[in-house]
């Protein structure tokens, strides 16, 4: 579904990705771990098309109607419409715009692109109310401005709600576990597990093994210095938890 080939990218003239190779198939969950500054968040931003990141070489291909297409020239919204979703590490506040309006406009933009029928306000409200149960968000949230005045945990849950509503084929979760207490972590993880199916793929970017106790990955990759230095199965995460990253960095 996703193929990253020798990807090199820089931001503010600093090279942050130094040749990444990664293949992800539908139905898989990949965890990407690594120390601070290793390029984990950069990778997620490049996948979503952040304008500040410049790809120097390599390619990122995504399955569109059974054909692998390079997405590097696509605008962020084009990637989103094809089914790529990034749950932000620090979700952005959007004063004045209510969650429900934002979600509906985004949902309908994606439906339009995919040739699905759009929903009116009433239908959408019912649809979202159901989805909010997945992350146990009180429906009041829908009428509040996007992320404004939300606690850290609420913001992260809101990201997963967006994922539930937009139903992406590839979801990249950038440190969705950071700043969450144990209850919120469980809610978010259970939410993600419920959204996991054989047609979509999930990339979990995390510092900690903890999240992986709840969302069990098929593959674990260690990113260091802008490269994947080690890949393995879920046992790799346990080893990292015990031994740290040092043994990989030498």
């Amino acid at each position: 579904m996703l193929s990253i080939e020798n990807l090199k990218a820089k931001v503010n003239d600093k090279e942050v990705l130094k040749g990444i190779d990664l293949k992800i198939k539908a139905g898989e969950v990949h965890a990407i771990m690594g120390p601070n500054g290793s390029g984990k968040s950069s990778l997620s931003k490049v996948l979503a098309g952040h304008p500040a990141y410049e790809v120097e070489s390599g390619d990122v291909k995504f399955d569109v109607n059974f054909e692998m297409k390079s997405i590097l020239d696509w605008e962020p919204e084009e990637r989103a419409r094809e089914g790529i979703f990034l749950a932000f590490q620090y979700p952005i506040e959007v004063p004045g715009v209510s969650n429900i309006t934002f979600l509906r406009l985004a949902f309908n933009a994606i439906c339009r692109h995919q040739g699905a029928s759009e929903m009116n306000e009433e239908e959408f409200r019912k649809f979202v109310a159901k989805k909010s149960e997945i992350v146990k968000l009180n429906p009041d949230f829908l009428d509040r401005a996007v992320n404004e005045g939300f606690s850290g945990g609420e913001k992260k849950r809101n990201e997963i709600l967006q994922m539930a509503v937009l139903n992406p084929r590839l979801a990249v979760l950038d440190e969705t576990d950071s700043g969450l207490d144990i209850d919120s972590l469980r809610i978010v993880a259970e939410g993600v597990n419920r959204l996991r199916n054989k047609n979509n793929a999930i990339v979990l970017i995390t510092h900690y093994q903890r999240l992986l106790d709840y969302i069990v990955p098929d593959f674990v990759h260690v990113l260091a210095g802008g490269k994947i230095v080690k890949s393995g199965d879920k046992t790799l995460a346990h080893k990292l938890e015990k031994e740290g990253y040092d043994w990989l960095l030498q």
């Binding site: 304008p51 919204e77 989103a80 952005i92 959007v94 715009v97 934002f102």
Partner: protein, 474 residues
């Protein structure tokens, strides 16, 4: 060509023979204007006295606006299409060039093409070309015509109310306007009449080196109701042009006036060359009990905007409101806000101001809420929000609150936010394109103001703001 400049789609010039006064300002010019309009003696005296006072006044600089000194002798104070200036014609007999101009601006004037539900007074440079839907209005007893015509047809009303809200020497630009005003609209809604149509005036500056000094006077008699809309555009030129208008509203007992403006004068190019200097005095007097005046404005044009639509809440239980969206881009400067003067008991005022600054522009809210000793139980609520786009623009808020009794309530809220690259990326990463993103942000920010506008006007205003923002953000 710069794609941005192309976007000012009202920037065209109408080629037409104009009858114009020579440049300069003196008593002779004032007599010339007065004679052109065949005015009675009292009005000429009014003008001359205003001129005498203006000469003694100083151009205000407290708003801190930056512009080269205006040479008042380099302006033409009267310009009118020759065909109209010489002989008044019905709208259907107008020079086709003029009809075409208004059609291009989206305001067809001919009988069969007119917009239903809205009566229009079309002002071109210094003259009104005429008003539409006169018959329907006349049936309801509503007078709606150009102020020049009102001076001829209803001199007693004009004389009674002209300058009663904005005195001749109120301020520098109001005094200048009183001396040289040329045209504008006049409206009188009689007792108990709900005006059957929305009224509107469309102001168009066309002639080069001319200024536009419009004068509008609206009187809503007891128990009446009127919606009034105002739109403005001008050609795209490298020289600055002066627009100094005065608008006076009077609302009697239980009367209601809603005055909405979408101002889109040419704002100059990206480097700040050209554009309209918009120095405007707008004030309403809620004279009677329970009178209501609402100003709603969308200020999206002009190189400089200096404008404070205000309310004097004289009648007990009267109320005033000011809803404003001001957008500045590139090198534009806007200093706008309101004054709410509470005189009567239990008077109420609401101020909702939304400023959006982009580019290197400067956007200020300047407001005064004054509650007089007798205004017991007065209430004010003010909310002033600024949105910054990019790092080189500025937004300022200067609220002054003065309360002279202790039974009144005043609330003031203010906020500043910034549209950042991160915000745009976040929204786009959910599937919204640039246009949808900007539109959503603007609608979210301005919805409290947009919902005050009549529907059609609101759609236009939203489109205008979105278009201007897309150009400055994209």
């Amino acid at each position: 060509m710069n794609p941005f400049e192309n976007e000012y789609k009202h920037g065209f010039v109408t080629t037409i023979e104009e009858d114009a006064a020579p440049k300069g300002l003196n008593e002779e010019i004032i007599r010339f204007i007065s004679a052109k309009k065949n005015e009675p003696e009292w009005l000429l005296d009014y003008r001359l006295s205003a001129f005498a006072q203006w000469k003694k006044m100083k151009e205000p600089d407290w708003a801190g606006l930056k512009y080269p000194p205006i040479d008042y002798q380099a302006i033409r104070y009267y310009a009118a299409p020759k065909s109209v200036s010489e002989k008044k014609k019905s709208l259907d007999e107008l020079d086709p060039e003029l009809l075409k101009t208004f059609e291009r601006l989206g305001i067809p004037l001919q009988e069969q093409k007119r917009i239903s539900g809205v009566a229009v007074d079309a002002v071109f440079d210094s003259v009104s070309l005429g008003t539409t839907h006169k018959e329907t209005l006349a049936k309801a007893g509503v007078i709606f015509c150009s102020i020049s015509e009102a001076v001829q047809e209803h001199p007693e009303l004009v004389r009674k109310y002209l300058g009663s809200v904005v005195p001749v020497a109120d301020n520098y630009f109001a005094a200048l306007n009183a001396a040289v005003f040329t045209d504008g609209s006049f409206c009188y809604v009689p007792k108990g009449v709900k005006c059957p149509l929305d009224l509107s005036t469309y102001f168009r500056i066309n002639a080069q080196e001319s200024g536009q000094f419009e004068r509008t006077l609206l009187v809503a008699d007891a128990g009446s109701f009127v919606n009034y809309l105002e739109g403005c555009t001008a050609p795209q030129r490298d020289e600055n042009q002066l627009h100094a208008a005065v608008v006076e509203l009077i609302a009697m007992d239980d009367a209601e006036i809603n005055y909405s403006t979408v101002q889109n004068w040419y704002a100059g190019d990206r480097q700040g060359l050209g554009g309209i200097y918009n120095f405007v005095t707008k004030r309403g007097k809620a004279l009677g009990k329970n009178a209501r005046i609402t100003w709603t404005q969308v200020e999206a044009g002009s190189a400089i905007t200096w404008k404070y639509p205000s309310c004097i809440l004289q009648g007990d239980n009267s109320s005033g409101a000011f809803y404003s969206v001001a957008l500045t881009h590139d090198k534009m400067q806007a200093d706008t806000g309101t004054k709410m003067i509470h005189v009567g008991k239990n008077t109420k005022s609401t101020i909702i101001s939304k400023g959006i600054s982009t580019g290197e522009s400067v956007n200020a809210y300047r407001g005064q809420v004054k509650i007089m000793p007798r205004a017991e139980g007065a209430r004010n609520y003010s909310q002033c929000d600024s949105m910054l786009v990019g790092a080189r623009c500025a937004a300022n808020t200067f609220p002054v609150i003065e309360v002279q009794n202790d039974s009144s309530t005043v609330e003031h809220e203010a906020s500043t936010s910034r549209i950042s690259e991160e915000q745009l990326f976040y929204l786009k990463s959910r599937g919204l394109d640039q246009e949808e993103t900007i539109s959503m942000l603007v609608n979210g920010f301005c919805k409290d103001v947009f919902k005050q506008l009549p529907l059609e006007f609101s759609v236009e205003a939203v489109k205008l703001i979105e278009m201007k923002l897309e150009n400055s953000v994209g």
